[in-house]
Structures are given as structure tokens and as C-alpha cells.
């Protein structure tokens, strides 16, 4: 189990992680979602004892990382696939890791086999593709058969087959009862691979929940096609926002489909279409993080 306790990291004048306080449950895949530069990697480095928090703490099974007697047996992490000396062979890299935590060498061959690197185990890591390096990183994370696993942007650089493999892999790990914490800046990726999602922006917590919960909380809109759109528009309450679409339809926010139907009936306007529109997870994410983008960009203007 992984727990963040008012975790805060302040660099000179930037607040990279701002009072994060949540628990990551075992047995499910938890997505850690936020735009680039929102503090995901910093949070993961603090969990792994690499950076020190300014305030608060991160604990694994109740202990801070540097207090874990045999860390690789409790936490496995793939933070940066390239944090390996390129002139060392894959096998030697894993053996050095294994030796440091008294893990038998037989386990090195097991994990190499599991990630499909047995045939290149004696080759220098420097010659590996990003995908192979990712696999080596995963092998290292699994070495101590840990109950908590962290992956920072694991799908970066993977081909579609590799992405599918890694999704199934997360699922398997979670089904085995492990805590699986996966960061990504891609909502679409999290929507298919995570059960629970924690959203952060500019270092602070925005929201969390299952994919369904997140989309449900976002206010949907109602698409209406009426025989007379103008009279429908004037029949709407003053606080309802609407947008007239080119084809004569109205997109109404702040009212349910039921409300709109009742209003139209009361005003005697015939409706040709009445469709509640749920926000996609992507839209929810954009909405939630729009105000917290570290490096905001303008929509390119259309030349007139």
C-alpha cells in the first residue's frame, strides 16, 4: 500500500508538488494523471526516496523508502528506462541490483525471460531500443517480486503491441493483489488501462475516482433540434447557457434533457431531437487541468 501524506516539494521558486494527500489502493491499477510538468515524476521520485520532500511524506507499507530494509522486495519502479549504464550488459545490470538486495541470481534469469530479453541478456544496454530498455526497466522492477509497483509514463516509446502487452501486464499485477501506480499525461491511455484515476495539475490534487465517476461529475450538455429554435431559445431560463449550431440545433448547458423536454412541451414547441451529451474523459481532463497548465498555449488563430 502506498500513501502520500501532505506531500510537498518546493524548488527555489516553483511549487512542484503541492500538499498531495491520498492513498493508492492495492488490487487495482491507479492512474496518476496530469499534464507535462504537473509534478508526477517529482512525486514518484520522492516516493522512491530519491528527492526529499519539503514537507509531508510518502510511505510504502507504513514506512518511508529509506527505512525499507530490503527496498526492491517491497517496491519496484520504472522511473526512467535510460537510468542504466549503457556499457553494462542487461544481465550484469540486473545481477548488480539483485546482489544489493540479496535476491538470488536465478531470479535475474526469470525476469529476463518474463520480459523477453533472454536472447540479448549478454548484450550492452547501450544498444537497446527504447522499447527494450523499458522491458529491462520492468525486469528490474519485478526483480524482488514487490507488492507495490510504480511506472512513470511507461507507454512512451512503446509500439502498439508493446502498449497492449503492458496494459495486460498492469491488469495481471493488480489482479495478483499488488498496488499498481502508473503515471501518464495521456487521458486516453488511462481511460483504458486504469481502474482509478488521480488527477493533478501544477502539483496539486484536482480530483480522483473511477473513469465513470469522473465523466459523470462533469456537466454534460443537451443537443436539441427544434422546429423553431428561436422560440426555444427564448423559452430557456435566463441562467441557461446555449450555443446555436450552424445546422440550427442548440447545445444547451446547465439543464438536463428532461428539463429541456418539459420546457419545450410547456411552450408548445415541437422537438425533432433531444440528445444528452456526456463529456468524454478527454474533455473532462482538459476542463479540469485547463487552469493549471504549466505551459499554456494559445489556440492558433484562423486568418481571415
Amino acid at each position: 500500500m502506498l500513501k502520500l501524506d501532505h506531500l510537498t516539494k518546493q524548488y527555489k521558486d516553483t511549487l512542484a508538488v503541492d500538499d498531495l494527500d491520498f492513498e493508492v489502493k492495492a488490487g487495482v491499477v491507479t492512474g496518476f494523471l496530469g499534464p507535462n510538468g504537473s509534478g508526477k515524476s517529482t512525486t514518484m521520485r520522492i516516493i522512491m526516496g530519491l528527492d526529499r520532500p519539503t514537507k509531508g511524506r510518502a510511505t510504502i507499507n507504513g514506512k518511508q523508502y529509506h527505512d525499507l530494509a530490503s527496498p526492491l522486495r517491497e517496491v519496484g519502479a520504472l522511473l526512467d528506462a535510460k537510468s542504466v549504464n549503457p556499457s553494462r550488459s542487461a544481465r550484469n545490470h540486473l545481477r548488480a541490483l539483485a546482489a544489493s538486495n540479496k535476491i538470488p541470481y536465478s531470479r535475474v534469469d526469470e525476469v529476463l525471460d518474463f520480459v523477453g530479453l533472454t536472447s540479448v541478456a549478454g548484450k550492452k544496454v547501450g544498444g537497446f531500443s527504447l522499447g527494450m530498455s523499458q522491458r529491462l526497466g520492468i525486469a528490474g522492477a519485478l526483480l524482488g517480486d514487490p507488492g507495490v509497483l510504480l511506472f512513470d509514463e511507461p507507454v512512451n516509446g512503446l509500439d502498439p503491441e508493446g502498449i497492449r502487452w503492458i496494459r495486460d501486464f498492469f491488469r495481471t499485477l493488480a489482479n495478483e493483489g499488488r498496488t499498481v501506480f502508473v503515471s501518464s499525461h495521456l487521458m486516453s491511455e488511462m481511460a483504458v488501462s486504469a481502474d482509478e484515476i488521480i488527477v493533478i495539475g501544477r502539483g496539486h490534487f484536482i480530483t480522483s475516482g473511477t473513469v465513470d465517476q469522473l465523466t459523470a461529475t462533469a456537466a454534460g450538455t443537451v443537443l436539441v433540434r427544434a422546429a423553431n429554435p428561436d422560440s426555444l431559445a427564448s423559452a430557456l431560463p435566463a441562467d441557461a447557457h446555449y450555443e446555436a449550431l450552424n445546422d440550427g440545433a442548440l447545445r444547451i448547458a446547465g439543464l438536463s434533457a428532461e428539463d429541456v423536454g418539459n420546457l419545450a412541451f410547456a411552450a408548445g414547441i415541437a422537438l425533432h431531437e433531444l440528445t444528452p451529451q456526456r463529456a468524454s474523459l478527454e474533455e473532462v481532463f482538459m476542463d479540469l487541468t485547463a487552469s493549471s497548465l504549466q505551459y499554456g498555449h494559445q489556440t492558433p488563430g484562423v486568418p481571415s
Binding site: 525499507l68 535510460k82 537510468s83 549504464n85 549503457p86 541490483l97 546482489a99
Partner: protein, 260 residues
């Protein structure tokens, strides 16, 4: 099942022997120490009977002459010491290392243990080989030294000890500085440039400062009789060891404080 310092040492040993830079560093070290020493010994021998070489004869020390290669070899071992830590930063593998062994002081101790074991054994073998080859070259023409003489045995052994201490000295610089290029510059400056600068100081200061320079401490350690402007060989080794403790101490403190 709980990992110990010994587990960390085993891990560091695997890392030490499994990269090419270590192997090239060690081969360079062997070649420089033995090769340069032999070349100098041959040069001395071939000019021994030249007219006007009486002064050379007066200051001649067959032991330290047969170990001249150390002047270059100290840069080979220094580079090994520096790379033991800076290569972890340049490749990013420091993060992997510190995740596996979160007690950072333990990482430092393990790396030092590996360096000491490697350089003590290798260094002693290499200096005794260079000495033996040198005396064989001198034989018959130039006066030779024998290990049966107490000071000679001590000087050769201390030459190996100097190489080990200077490796750790470089390792300490690497821990503090963290990048390979900058560490090598600092190390080279301390060994080569600082003595030149000190030469321009008033003579009174020169005498006080020179004795404390690592290069002078080394000369005192591997000479059979105490050279000018040095402390005794025993005190010199102590001072060099104190430098190592200070540098590695500061380096360890910084490693513990800094974000990896």
C-alpha cells in the same frame, strides 16, 4: 535475508568489473607504471657513464627511479576513482543505485571497499613488478636497491598505498563535483597546477605549503630517504589519509542532502 553492507559491496563489485572504462583504466595504469618506469631506468642506465653525470649519481635513488611511472599512473587510478561515482551521474544509473540501496552512506562505503580492494592488490603487484624490472635493468652498471633493506621495502609498499589513497582522494572529488570532466580538472589541478602556483610564492610560504601537497606527500611515501620539503613518510601517509576522509566525508554529506 536483510541486505547488509556486504550485499552492497557485492553489487558494486559487479558494477565495477562489468564496464569497459574500468578495464581500460586498469590496463592503462599497469602499462604506465611498468612501462614508463622501465623506459626511465633504461635511459638512466645508458647515460650512467656519461662525462659530467657525477651530480646525477649523488642524488640517484634506485628505488624511486624504478617507480617513476607512478607520476602518470596516478592519473589512471584517479580516473578510475572519479568514474566510480561520476559515471553513475552521467548515465543516470545513480537513481537505480540509490533505489536499490537507499542508505547513501552505505553506497559510498561499498564503492570505497571495491576501490580499495582493487587498487591495493593491483597497485602493490604493479609497483613491486616495476621495482623488480627496474633493478634488473640497472644490474651490473647502476647501483641497485634490494627489498631486504627496510626502507626500500617500505618505499615500494608505500608506493602502492599512495596509489590507493590518491584513488580515494579522486573518488571524494567525484562525489562532491559529480561530473566527470570537472572532477578530472579539479584532480589534475590539485596534483599538477597547484604545485606550480606555489612555486611563485615567497620562499617561506613555499616551504610551509609544499609539504602539504598530495604530490609531495606521495614523494615522501615512496622515497627511501626523506626528500626536501616533505614530512616523514608516516606523517605524510596520515595527512593524505586525512584528506581522503575529509573529501569523502563532505561528499557523503552532500550525497545525503542532495536530490538524486
Amino acid at each position: 535475508m536483510t541486505p547488509t553492507l556486504w550485499s552492497a559491496i557485492r553489487s558494486e563489485w559487479i558494477k565495477f568489473r562489468s564496464v569497459r572504462s574500468t578495464i581500460t583504466g586498469i590496463l592503462t595504469f599497469i602499462a604506465l607504471t611498468i612501462g614508463i618506469s622501465a623506459v626511465v631506468c633504461i635511459a638512466v642506465k645508458s647515460h650512467w657513464s656519461d662525462p659530467g653525470s657525477h651530480f646525477d649519481h649523488l642524488v640517484f635513488d634506485p628505488t624511486s627511479t624504478s617507480l617513476t611511472g607512478i607520476f602518470l599512473a596516478q592519473f589512471a587510478v584517479g580516473t578510475i576513482g572519479i568514474l566510480a561515482v561520476t559515471s553513475e551521474y552521467s548515465t543516470g544509473s545513480m537513481r537505480t543505485t540509490l533505489s536499490a540501496v537507499p542508505r547513501r552512506a552505505r553506497v559510498v562505503l561499498a564503492k570505497m571497499a571495491v576501490l580499495i580492494a582493487a587498487i591495493v592488490i593491483l597497485g602493490e603487484i604493479v609497483v613491486f613488478t616495476a621495482f623488480t624490472i627496474g633493478q634488473a635493468i640497472f644490474k651490473g652498471v647502476v647501483p641497485t636497491a634490494s627489498l631486504a633493506t627496510g626502507d626500500v621495502l617500505r618505499a615500494v609498499m608505500m608506493a602502492g598505498a599512495y596509489l590507493t589513497l590518491i584513488t580515494l582522494f579522486a573518488f571524494g572529488i567525484g562525489l562532491i563535483v559529480r561530473t566527470t570532466a570537472a572532477s578530472i580538472i579539479v584532480y589534475t589541478a590539485v596534483l599538477l597546477i597547484v604545485p606550480i602556483i606555489v612555486n611563485f610564492l615567497p620562499r617561506v610560504l613555499q616551504h610551509d605549503i609544499t609539504r602539504f601537497l598530495p604530490s609531495q606527500l606521495g614523494s615522501a611515501m615512496w622515497s627511501t630517504s626523506q626528500p626536501a620539503q616533505t614530512f616523514s613518510w608516516g606523517l605524510s601517509s596520515g595527512i593524505l589519509a586525512a584528506y581522503v576522509v575529509a573529501l569523502v566525508g563532505v561528499g557523503t554529506y552532500l550525497l545525503q542532502r542532495r536530490d538524486a
